[in-house]
């Protein structure tokens, strides 16, 4: 698989690892936050941490869209799905995320709600066309990568004048979340591994401001393990040299400006929400997207008058601290006992991009030592 296999080469990994070990100064620690759950997943799945020296410490950030979605939003989706005339479409990742009382969309489906797993926003449009007597709601989640496909779907629905389609938008913004974490100053983060795929859309420029503001080195990195290791090396070098720049490891698809067409389509359909609640980060201003008045006909929140109800996390759950990079999965008292991927208490235990699930699924062998 071209452009994939080359970036998973074990031989090169050994050499990169050696380089990192050589360059990392033994008199200091490096706290590097990979913002994105995709990186978390890659690190655990390929065993990257095991190749790093002890003083390089990967901190798993909030970049897993299902992990940061607050319970209230999941509850709204479940409530919608249970309405007799509604078909709720969503990505497979959302199905097991627990809302209140541990009820997930999967359980709601078992309970009779019409929930459909889709692969693409285009599938939701198709379902709407095939079920003219039903209201088809696309429960849309995700960062800047997933937003443009949602925008396309709304624009196409408008073109087709599809009356029974709407979108429950939960799209959120990466830079806002990173700023919130940096701003809080809680986590000991020395450098940030930025998500390449987000930047294929938004480019690298949005990171420049806070690299400067927080004097924080950022390397935009691809999701293959060599990309991640290379980014780590680049961050070590910046830190060693006292630089705080935005560097681009994923130059093969990320430019400074990103995909202007996609940005324009998003801007046509969406506007900033004043504020949006994140699991872990709380209410973050200008961090979420809502559908513009012009496309209000496709806004499920308006069409179905969905009130938002903030719901507290399970008291034992440390997701919120984990997402902020302040705690690690094993710091949670219920990790691996009450909370497992089969019976997740918090959202970090759901997706293999969540820090708890990634550690549980891939990393627990360390317990056996």
């Amino acid at each position: 698989m071209k452009y994939i296999d080359e970036f998973r080469d074990g031989q090169l990994a050994q050499k990169l690892a050696a380089d990192i070990r050589r360059e990392a100064r033994s008199d200091r620690a490096y706290g590097l936050m990979e913002f994105c759950g995709g990186h978390t997943h890659a690190i655990f799945r390929y065993g990257v941490q095991g190749l790093l020296p002890d003083n390089i410490n990967m901190i798993h950030g909030p970049g897993c869209p299902v992990c940061v979605l607050p319970i209230g939003r999941v509850d709204s989706a479940i409530e919608l799905a249970y309405r007799p005339n509604v078909i709720l479409c969503t990505y497979g990742d959302m199905l097991r995320v627990p809302g209140s009382n541990r009820v997930s969309l999967l359980k709601a489906k078992a309970g009779g709600a019409d929930v459909r797993m889709i692969y693409s926003s285009a599938d939701a449009l198709k379902i709407a066309q095939e079920n003219p007597d039903k209201q088809v709601v696309f429960f849309a989640i995700g960062f800047e990568t997933t937003t443009p496909p949602t925008a396309v779907a709304i624009l196409q629905a408008a073109t087709m004048d599809l009356a029974n389609f709407s979108v429950f938008s939960n799209h959120v913004l990466t830079p806002a979340a990173i700023s919130a974490i940096m701003g809080s100053g809680e986590a000991r983060v020395d450098g940030v591994v930025g998500p390449a795929h987000v930047s294929t859309v938004i480019g690298s420029r949005p990171y420049e401001l806070f690299a400067e503001q927080y004097h924080m080195p950022v390397v935009i990195a691809g999701f293959e393990p060599l990309d991640v290791m290379q980014a780590i090396l680049m961050l070590v070098r910046q830190l060693n040299e006292g630089r705080a720049e935005v560097e681009n490891e994923f130059s093969r698809a990320v430019t400074r400006d990103g995909n202007l067409k996609a940005q324009a389509m998003v801007a046509e359909v969406f506007e900033l929400r004043k504020t949006f609640e994140w699991r872990g980060l709380g209410w973050v201003p200008d961090s979420g997207l809502q559908i513009r008045e012009k496309y209000v006909a496709y806004d499920a929140e308006k069409r179905f008058e969905l009130p938002y109800q903030s719901v507290a996390d399970h008291p034992a759950c440390e997701c919120s601290a984990i997402i902020r990079g302040v705690k690690k999965p094993l710091d949670c008292k219920v990790f691996g006992t009450v909370c497992t991927p089969d019976n997740p208490i918090g959202s970090c235990m759901v997706s293999s991009e969540g820090a708890c699930a990634a550690y549980y699924t891939y990393g627990r062998y360390k317990e056996s030592r």
Partner: protein, 349 residues
């Protein structure tokens, strides 16, 4: 009095007909379905007795019995269909005790409205699979459920077989130091099914690996009668099967990713969908665990059989109180290969 009429019965309309509730009622319509379709296709001396049970001579010894319900969707997929799958699946579960499969039963749950042409095609496929395997379907049952209370057809097969003298194979016999071998590429069946699922469909030459493995097992048992564990990594894939065995035997395992035989197409399809081939189902593969010193002989025996050509030594059994299955990644790291959690659903993130 006019002359008596003979018992002419209008034949089943296997071209345009559909299953309706009368085909499950126990009456004449059911008898006709059984005779014209099932008896004709499966034809053998046991079925021809037309009793509610089959009867056959058996030798004294250790018998095994295995059952599986088959509910695959879609019913027809690249490389097979629910019919041959239901024959292979149960033959394999019998064979995984090292046994020689002897007889099968088959029980059908049909949905009202199911096209008789599709049913005929499935039954023909079962008959072929059974004939090729040399394991006859000797008894059966047919039920019909109302529309939207079934899914076309469900087939439950049960098999019995006899374990050769001196063979003792069970999931709890893996011992630290044992070799772990897989008979060929993993994940093919699961990906072949996904490739024809509505809303997911993608183009690929991947076919289901569905096959009856008792011939391969016979060759393996002949070469290494002391095999410890045999299992077919079906639902949940290789990862789940190895975890099952690790727990049953109270051991850990260490796999080497570089040794895992996985087709490029399977890897690519999994990349597209965010899945892991280790959790993708197989229907014509087996995992075998044996003493390290038997591994070479076993591999050689396997590789000379058409269904074991790509057999590979993929790891070894280790001591581990946590019963973790671990893997040295091709990348040079290490990770757990955990049980499947939930269902394997396509991911976007």
């Amino acid at each position: 009095m006019t002359k008596p009429r003979t018992g002419y019965i209008r034949p089943l309309d296997l071209k345009n007909g559909q299953v309706d509730m009368t085909h499950g009622s126990g009456g004449r319509a059911m008898a006709q379905l059984i005779e014209e379709l099932f008896l004709t296709a499966f034809d053998n001396e046991y079925l021809r007795q037309m009793n509610d049970q089959a009867s056959f001579q058996i030798p004294a010894g250790r018998m095994v019995m295995a059952t599986d319900s088959h509910v695959v969707s879609p019913l027809f997929f690249p490389g097979g269909d629910i019919g041959c799958l239901s024959v292979h699946g149960t033959i394999n579960d019998v064979a995984m005790a090292g046994a020689v499969p002897l007889y099968l039963s088959a029980s059908f749950i049909l949905e009202e409205g199911f096209p008789l042409a599709d049913l005929a095609r499935i039954v023909e496929s079962m008959a072929n699979a059974s004939r090729q395997a040399g394991v006859p379907i000797v008894t059966g049952d047919t039920k019909v459920v109302e529309r939207n209370k079934g899914d076309g057809v469900f087939i439950t097969t049960t098999g019995v077989g006899i374990v050769p003298h001196g063979v003792n194979i069970s999931g709890d016999l893996a011992r630290p130091g044992d070799a772990i071998i897989v008979s060929g590429t993993v994940g093919d069946h699961g990906v072949a099914i996904l490739s024809v699922r509505e809303n997911l469909s993608f183009g690929t030459s991947i076919q289901s690996d569905t096959a009856a493995l008792h011939g391969l097992v016979a060759a393996m048992v002949a070469a290494v009668p002391g095999i410890h564990v045999l299992r077919d990594p079906t639902r949940g894939g290789l990862a789940t099967t190895l975890n099952e065995i690790a727990r049953q035997s109270g051991v850990g395992m260490m796999l080497r990713e570089t040794n895992l035989p996985i087709r490029t197409e399977v890897r690519a399809a999994c990349e597209f969908l965010g899945l892991d081939p280790l959790y993708s189902a197989n229907e014509g593969k087996l995992v075998v665990i044996c003493r390290q010193e038997d591994a070479d002989a076993l591999l050689e025996a396997m590789r000379t059989h058409p269904l074991g050509q790509d057999a590979a030594l993929i790891g070894e059994v280790i001591e581990d109180d946590h019963h973790f299955v671990q893997m040295e990644t091709a990348f040079g790291g290490r990770r757990i290969v955990d049980w499947l959690t939930g269902e394997q659903l396509p991911r976007i993130c």
